[in-house]
């Protein structure tokens, strides 16, 4: 049978909550399990109700026949009540309280318009982003996790394929948006508040440093001086620096030119963090189960070259060019002659059209380059 304390007649044999009424309450028929699930009895054992405690003790004194069941129930409830959560660090609570306090005062006290539930709106926006951009998981990441500004106060910039767009953000930071990309941010930024943007696609950021000069370690800096790019599954936090972020379906990369970048990646309830130094590329491979977030040194200048529309090579080894083609153009490159990797290139190549780029490379390396979809062969 499912459920407590039902007599043969099928009616509950006691009212839902029991202010003590020994005449009405047939406690004399109680089993250990009935005691265990009785809220008045629980309140007595858990110490929530001193009055109940007195009455229960008096009751059991009058009904020695029930002493064994009574004691067994008390012991089990005491055992369960002995559980407690580990104490929370005071610093955490203080920081969170301060954050709330700041938010309560940042939002104007008027603003009576009712707001949509975050959950619903998030789904709608996510759906729209996926449909419009066909960006896969990257599209879902467009939705701000902690929206503070009202929906009408968001600005977004987007580019078509092959288009490049330069923007200046409210704090004076500069952004170059590559083709097929969307950047979303709150229209008004308040000084002294966290700066946040949401990116799908690729962009090069030149972020203004707003922290005091002595503050250079991004991990230790308060949110109020950080600039964060939310790129799908990756959060990229900086103080003031130059870096490239790529967030395309199935791959997310960050390439750091100067300064320091802190990456955070949340997956299945765990947060991974990674600190980048200048000249490093971090890559997120969502398919890799063990360590999806990895980093390696690259020729960072090459990765920002698209912002000017051409790649400048100065004794650049072919291996670096191949890495660039794979990382930013999403190509898979096979070299028939591995020795080619060591060969060096000098000169300027247009970077906008990948076929023009490959043709130029073929000419200067004096080899044959063929492309089928994303597969490229250097012969």
């Amino acid at each position: 049978m499912n459920g407590p304390a039902r007599p043969p007649g099928g009616q509950p044999r006691h009212p839902a909550a029991g202010p003590f009424g020994p005449l009405l309450m047939p406690y004399t028929t109680y089993s250990t399990d009935d005691f265990l699930a009785d809220e008045s009895f629980q309140a007595f054992v858990l110490g929530h109700d001193p009055a109940a405690a007195q009455l229960w003790r008096a009751w059991v004194a009058q009904h020695p026949a029930k002493q064994a069941e009574f004691d067994e129930a008390v012991a089990l409830l005491q055992l369960l009540a002995s559980g407690y959560s580990p104490a929370l660090p005071q610093s955490l609570k203080q920081a969170e309280t301060a954050k709330l306090w700041q938010a309560l005062h940042a939002v104007p006290t008027r603003q009576p318009q009712p707001r949509l539930r975050v959950g619903r709106r998030a789904r709608r926006w996510a759906g729209a982003a996926v449909a419009a951009l066909a960006l896969g998981f990257a599209g879902v990441g467009l939705w701000p996790r902690t929206p503070v500004a009202p929906a009408s106060a968001w600005t977004s910039y987007s580019t078509k394929a092959g288009e490049r767009r330069e923007l200046t953000l409210p704090d004076g930071s500069r952004v170059t948006l590559n083709g097929r990309s969307v950047l979303r941010l709150a229209t008004a930024w308040q000084p002294g508040h966290a700066r946040e943007v949401w990116l799908a696609g690729e962009a090069f950021f030149q972020v203004r440093h707003t922290a005091p000069a002595r503050l250079t370690a991004v991990a230790a800096a308060p949110a109020s001086v950080k600039f964060t790019v939310h790129a799908g599954p990756l959060d990229v936090a900086v103080l003031g620096t130059q870096f490239d972020v790529l967030n395309r379906p199935g791959r997310a990369k960050v390439i750091l030119q100067s300064g320091q970048v802190q990456l955070r990646h949340q997956r299945a309830g765990r947060t991974e963090a990674l600190l980048l130094k200048p000249g490093e590329l971090a890559e997120l491979r969502p398919a890799a189960a063990a360590a999806p977030l990895t980093k390696r040194p690259v020729n960072a200048a090459l990765y920002a070259a698209w912002t000017s529309g051409h790649l400048d090579f100065t004794d650049t080894p072919v291996s670096e060019v191949v890495a660039l083609l794979e990382d930013t153009y999403g190509l898979r490159v096979t070299l028939r002659n591995p020795a080619l990797r060591q060969q060096k290139l000098t000169g300027s190549v247009p970077s906008q059209d990948v076929d023009v780029l490959l043709a130029t490379l073929a000419k200067s390396l004096d080899i044959k380059i063929s492309r089928t979809g994303s597969q490229v062969r250097f012969d």
Binding site: E72, L79, P86, L92, P114, R145
Partner: protein
């Protein structure tokens, strides 16, 4: 900090609806730990829980003029956090193309929560933990709300979106299982207590 009464919370809630930021901050301080531990129980993700609690209170503030009076503020906050975490978890799962989210959270109990030094040895503790973690997800969550947060059945029902009788049944059955598994321990303890 001593727990605050339901009556006092309800008064703070009314003051907050009337535009008192301090009243909302007081509720935040009073229930932060309980909300944090409950959220952590449900998701195991500290950052997500912190974000969701912060987000929840900021949202309450912005929407205060559309809110109604509530009887038990703590239960209202627990329910709101639970829903919020559910939405966020769904989004995360979607993002990583994980299988669709199942409707209930996975509550598990850990050793640190039952360091009942004076009441039993490690073996008894292990037995209790094993028994707890073998219960159904809903039973584990209902027991947590009962014994860690002291909610009445009616409030557990509110938080978990069930009816009161279902909660009563969940807990009745869970305690019955625990009693059987722990019969030896309990007899020993009641012998000591007598």
């Amino acid at each position: 900090m001593p727990p605050i009464t339901d009556e006092y919370s309800a008064q703070l809630w009314e003051a907050f609806r009337g535009g008192e930021a301090r009243a909302l901050a007081a509720l935040f301080e009073a229930y932060y730990e309980a909300l944090y531990h409950y959220g952590l129980k449900l998701t195991g993700d500290e950052e997500l829980v912190k974000d969701c609690i912060q987000n929840l209170f900021q949202k309450l503030w912005r929407r205060r003029e559309g809110l109604r009076a509530v009887q038990v503020v703590k239960a209202y906050l627990f329910k709101a956090l639970r829903r919020h975490l559910g939405d966020e978890t769904k989004l995360l799962r979607h993002r990583y193309l994980l299988p669709a989210y199942s409707d209930s959270f996975e509550v598990t109990y850990s050793h640190e929560e039952f360091l009942i030094a004076q009441q039993g040895d490690a073996e008894q503790r292990a037995r209790l933990l094993a028994a707890l973690n073998r219960l159904s997800k809903r039973q584990r969550e209902a027991l947590y709300l009962k014994f860690f947060d002291g909610f009445a059945y009616e409030r557990i029902a509110e938080v978990m979106g069930l009816n009161t009788q279902s909660v009563r049944n969940l807990i009745f059955n869970a305690l019955q299982v625990l009693r059987k598994v722990l019969a030896v321990v309990v007899l020993l303890l009641s012998g000591l207590a007598a």
